[in-house]
């Protein structure tokens, strides 16, 4: 067997956000020797955010990810609230949460119908040129297909109304929002949100019919082959409900017992990260459990974030319709915590329904239309903002100088938390498809399906805790004079 045959590349991996590739290595017996999930990109936000104006950060950092810019925008805005010791007035709070739940609905919809869902809605073994949204529409029919497009549009339109733009919103400011909404816009949101609830219910019906009843999906979601016992991390509110916009960080162990519950700002004390020479992404793990390699179990510090993990750390969902579906989900698995990696899809749709319900109830609140949009600000300092991005816990941590410029910016991003678990899942799946030194190319998609469960965002993943290096740079104006000296 020559070397070429002993190494199989999937490049690029597709239907996700960002660049990634998978390298599979076979051993002399023709089995899988090892699998690597590589992220070949880096931007350096941690470096060039230094010296920027604090209030510009929500619009700068959202360029980390155009699929979930709302998550970065509001993690950033919340960090600035903390930096300026400002508590946004109830109206601004309601507007932000409204936008945020509309985003969660829209982003989860995108994953189910456009990114991860086509593997099952069209079929894991379908020709590659059909495994996409167009193939999905072919399968579910033009009528439902148009509903998919319409409701993704609703999610984006709600974001646009509150955020000023459908992608890369602009209205978040420390202590509040730059604008309100008109009565007509509020009515438009109410009717879109009501429709979103119905659409989320219909999507769950489709899930039961097309995925849960499907033999391949049924095999993947049941049994222990794709269910690594890992820690889970997510935000919960003061009642222990799933909370997308705000809350404490809760971590549970593989057996479901509480490992930690801390104020969001303290999450950085729970984790540590390592680098590997073969990827641009850093790999975090629970510091006190420790790094034991890419292995599952209670002694391995690998943890997961995102829908599956959020449903493992919560005590209830927090909205009535999604709660009913959550109980069906728990019944199916005989109680939590759920480790089946393919259950991410189901958990995501339960959250999509909950986000639609929350959007609808927020749209009914009178506070949206009345009161101040901005709170007075204190002197700038340091602050942490934490939020649940669709893909998991997202943390922005800034230190501002007395003029409100960024001295340092730490970003801990959803997909980064999941990198070790994704590597583990890929290897588990790869083991099952390598036989006698051969891999049927039609089976390689199964390996990709194992990472698509996580809905990874790899452009996001390459940003994480920076170190501290001294640096002085002079910024010169067109006339050659020093306009600014950036020091750190």
């Amino acid at each position: 067997m020559n070397d070429r045959l002993r190494q199989i590349s999937i490049d690029p991996i597709t239907r996700l956000e960002g660049h990634g590739r998978i390298e599979l290595f076979l051993d002399d017996e023709g089995g899988l020797a090892d699998a690597f999930f590589q992220i070949p990109e880096l931007r350096g936000f941690e470096e060039f955010c230094r010296g920027r104006l604090g209030e510009d950060m929500p619009q700068i950092t959202e360029r980390i990810c155009g699929v979930c810019p709302e998550a970065h925008h509001y993690a950033s805005v919340k960090a600035l609230d903390a930096c300026y010791r400002a508590v946004p007035p109830p109206r601004a709070q309601a507007l932000r949460e409204l936008l945020y739940n509309a985003y969660t609905f829209s982003d989860h919809l995108l994953h189910f119908y456009y990114l991860g869902g086509p593997d099952f809605l069209v079929g894991p073994y379908a020709p590659p040129q059909e495994r996409n949204i167009i193939g999905v529409i072919g399968k579910v029919g033009l009528e439902l297909g148009k509903e998919v497009i319409r409701h993704r549009g609703y999610g984006q339109r709600m974001i646009e109304i509150v955020g000023g733009r459908p992608i890369h919103p602009v209205t978040g400011l420390p202590g509040g929002q730059s604008k309100g909404i008109t009565a007509e816009e509020r009515d438009e949101i109410r009717s879109m949100a009501a429709s979103a609830v119905e659409f989320a219910k219909a999507t769950l019906e489709l899930f039961h019919k097309a995925l849960l009843a499907d033999r391949t999906y049924g095999e993947f979601i049941s049994g222990s082959a794709h269910a690594p016992s890992l820690y889970s991390m997510g935000l919960v509110d003061d009642r222990g409900s799933v909370s997308f916009y705000d809350g404490d960080v809760r971590v549970v162990g593989p057996d479901g017992s509480e490992y930690a519950q801390v104020p969001a700002a303290a999450v950085l004390s729970l984790i540590e990260e390592r680098t590997e020479p073969w990827t641009y992404v850093k790999i975090p793990y629970l510091k006190d459990v420790g790094w034991k390699g890419f292995v599952p179990g209670p002694d391995s510090g690998i943890y997961r974030v995102g829908p599956l993990a959020r449903l493992n750390v919560c005590r209830q969902i927090g909205t009535p319709l999604a709660q009913i579906e959550y109980e069906r989900y728990l019944d199916f698995f005989g109680g939590g915590p759920v480790h089946a990696t393919f259950a991410y899809h189901w958990a995501r749709l339960i959250e999509m329904l909950s986000a639609a319900e929350r959007t609808a109830s927020l749209a009914a609140e009178e506070v949206l239309m009345n009161g101040a949009l901005r709170a007075p600000l204190g002197e700038p300092g340091a602050g942490v903002g934490v939020i649940e991005a669709a893909r998991g816990v997202l943390i922005h941590h800034y230190d501002l100088d007395p003029r409100g410029r960024v001295r340092s910016a730490n970003l801990v991003v959803a997909t980064t938390h999941n990198v070790a678990a994704i590597s583990l899942s890929i290897k588990e799946m790869a083991k099952t498809i390598v036989r006698d030194g051969r891999v049927d190319p039609s089976l390689l998609n199964l390996v990709e399906m194992s990472f698509r469960n996580y809905d990874p965002c790899l452009a996001c993943a390459t940003h994480a805790l920076p170190g501290e290096m001294p640096l002085v740079v002079d910024v010169r104006g067109p006339d050659g004079r020093i306009r600014e000296r950036i020091e750190r």
Partner: protein
């Protein structure tokens, strides 16, 4: 007419450009019916191997978003250029380098130090894991826009390109009715032309930052002292940011008659602050107003640091400093 063969590719990008194509809502069904999508990593399962196997010029048009940040981005740009009849620089990063062009302010080693810490922790271009060789593409010294590495036929500005412009572009692609090569899908005029706010041409007495004061919703933001990039920025988006009480940040790049967006805006701003009087105390007062600009690069070159003259000079200077 046979179906148009199109490709969509991202280099160093955030995915917002890919999402902006979905913002056309039901028009995407026309694209599905009227075109064959040969490459779209975000949504379609075609691999690099498939791309390499296409004949030269086989893809009618590729929408290329993202900047050239790694050696892989550069290689893909060259490969796609050969495979595509028309290549479109789509979005700010491909057009002017985008926000991530701000990385050109720092040396590559500094970026790695900030992100990974000590040198022994840095990722390697080639590494061995138990004798198995893994490779990573090089992180280039400078980030560049697409047009700096290959010839570009059309440009679609914006971060991301706005919905109506994308609709116009897709209609043109589906009908085959493309404008003359070199066209830019945006307004030739600046953003102020389509902004609903009223210019009062008041002299700026104080620079205001958006978190410091609530803007009057009717009057021009610049007249109120907020640094709005509108005068130096290409229109076409309908000015949604000023409509949301936030200044334009310049994502669509410079207008047709301007080479350096930031320099053009600084000059506009200076003229709104300056009285032209040569009295020393007046000059000092005007300087004091301009000294309130706390982040020249991030404000005036938010999306254009990689293409500005300033950016390059800065880079050379920074390298020279490092050698001391």
């Amino acid at each position: 007419m046979s179906k148009a063969k199109i490709g969509i590719y991202w280099a160093a990008a955030c995915g917002g450009c890919d999402c902006s194509i979905l913002e056309v809502n039901e028009q995407i069904l026309d694209v599905a019916a009227g075109a064959e999508i040969l490459l779209w990593p975000c949504a379609v399962d075609a691999k690099y191997e498939d791309l390499r196997n296409y004949r030269n010029g086989e893809i009618d048009v590729v929408l290329f978003n993202g900047a050239i940040r790694t050696a892989e981005n550069h290689e893909m740009a060259e490969l796609i250029r050969v495979k595509a009849k028309y290549l479109i620089a789509y979005g700010s990063c491909a057009h002017t380098g985008g926000v991530i062009g701000l990385a050109n302010l720092s040396e590559r080693d500094r970026i790695f130090e900030t992100v990974y810490g000590a040198r022994e922790r840095w990722p390697q271009l080639e590494s061995s894991q138990d004798g198995r060789i893994l490779r990573l593409p090089a992180f280039l010294e400078r980030l560049t826009p697409l047009s700096e590495v290959v010839e570009v036929d059309y440009t679609v500005p914006g971060c991301p390109p706005p919905r109506e412009i994308v609709r116009e572009l897709l209609s043109a692609l589906l009908s085959g009715d493309l404008p003359p090569r070199g066209a830019i899908f945006a307004s030739a005029k600046n953003l102020c032309e389509e902004c609903a706010r009223e210019r009062t041409h008041e002299r700026i007495q104080r620079i205001l930052r958006p978190h410091e004061a609530e803007a009057d919703p009717e009057r021009c933001l610049l007249d109120q002292g907020f640094v709005c990039m509108g005068p130096a920025t290409r229109g076409g988006c309908g000015a949604p940011c000023p409509a949301a009480n936030m200044p334009c940040t310049g994502c669509a790049g410079p207008t047709a008659d301007v080479a350096d967006q930031g320099a053009a805006m600084l000059s506009t701003l200076a003229s709104l602050v300056g009285t032209g009087e040569e009295d020393e105390s007046q000059i000092a007062a005007e300087d004091a107003i301009l000294a309130q600009l706390d982040d020249i690069i991030g404000t005036f070159y938010r999306f254009g640091a990689a293409t500005s003259i300033l950016g390059r000079r800065y880079h050379e200077r920074s390298t020279a400093t490092d050698q001391h």
